[in-house]
Subunit: 237 residues, 2 copies
């Protein structure tokens, strides 16, 4: 399934620009580049499983990966959608625990694997990089607090509106007077992000469509009225 690809050196990788590696020193970039392994993945493949031991970190060059946990009721909760430039699996490596979630490709991807030792060595010898990673970790905690608060306090309707806004910010492409979410997600996957039943997502989406705040173009969602969505998501007040 996965095929090893020509290893573009990290020095030349376009997605590095906005990643944790953006300010890494030249020699370290070379070290990482030397040990890394670029692999091509198809939709549906699993990058790693919850509960297994991390052997390194992943850096996404292209494609989209969903990171999710499986709840005790069998349903899954999507924690995060990772795209080009994002790193995966460093939490588990740094906490010295097994993976706390599962990562699955949802849009064909090219992903580099950086073995544990090379990553940690660079981390501990390059303080600016270490600081950068720590900053990212701390930031993520704030993001998770926000998600937790929303999940506990907002209605499904508000949460769906908010998720659509976020998706349009992360995966949006500009049209005239609107914004298309350039990512194919099943209704079930949207439900797994929001944390609700698939049927609820379907009903709410058609409601949003009827109200003219969104439009469907094939499998993709177009945001027609971001301000309206923001109001529905209780972004103000």
């Amino acid at each position: 399934m996965s095929s090893k690809f020509s290893n573009t050196p990290c020095e030349l990788c376009a997605s590095r620009k906005h990643s944790l590696f953006s300010e890494l020193s030249a020699p370290s970039v070379c070290t990482i580049s030397e040990f890394k392994n670029s692999i091509s993945h198809k939709k549906g493949q699993i990058l790693y499983y919850e509960g297994t031991r991390p052997l390194g970190v992943f850096c996404i060059k292209s494609g989209v990966v969903k990171v999710y946990k499986t709840a005790s009721n069998g349903k899954s909760q999507i924690i995060h959608l990772a795209k080009a430039g994002d790193f995966l699996g460093y939490h588990a490596l740094l906490s010295e625990e097994n993976y706390s979630n599962t990562a699955t490709i949802i849009e064909d991807a090219t992903i580099c694997f950086i073995p544990r030792e090379a990553f940690l060595k660079t981390l501990f010898t390059e303080t600016p990089f270490f600081k950068r990673v720590t900053k990212a970790l701390s930031h993520e905690i704030g993001v998770m607090e926000e998600k937790l608060t929303d999940a506990s306090q907002k209605s499904i309707r508000e949460r769906l509106a908010f998720v659509l806004l976020q998706l349009s910010q992360t995966f949006g492409v500009e049209g005239d007077e609107n914004r298309k979410i350039d990512l194919i997600l099943s209704r079930e996957e949207i439900a797994s992000i929001v944390g609700t039943a698939t049927e609820s997502v379907i009903r709410l989406l058609s409601e949003f469509k009827k109200d003219g705040v969104i439009k469907l173009e094939g499998k993709k969602i177009i945001i027609m009225d971001p301000k309206g969505l923001a109001r529905m998501s209780d972004f103000y007040a």
Copy 2:
């Protein structure tokens, strides 16, 4: 309101044993100790406010602090209850952002304040300490993922049962055949942890009491049947 106290040196502080500082080198403990400031706080006082700039970190010597966010609907969501040995406010410091939450004393506390510079200097010069902090941050992310999944997928009943179990683990004192949660929380505060309405907490608690899994002793809750609670929280299955 707050009164400055005799500064017990960190070297002698009992709560250091289990804190992030547990493996700090002797000279660094001295540096921290020299710059820190021990302050006594009464229930209801606010340690810091969401949205303000962090000037240092807090280390709890005794007492309990609730860390919470205020949602757009005005209700608050308790993220964490911090007790002796816990650190507060380092996320914001490390992410170089304003506080993402508010911290309020809920049980009279003595808390040391370590100024930004002293903390950061120690962090960046002592790699083992830095690693320890990073490990804690990464671990917390896993915990938050778990909380998010529970909040999105479990029923209020399951979540309340789970919260009671957690509280008994963190604040529990052993009795014969039972375990008392040695912390006074209002129903409203419990609701803010679970993320529900106060009335729902009241109703469910009396239901749990009727079923014999808990008992009330004054303002405190006693867990009579932890296994039963675990089953109710859908801990297995």
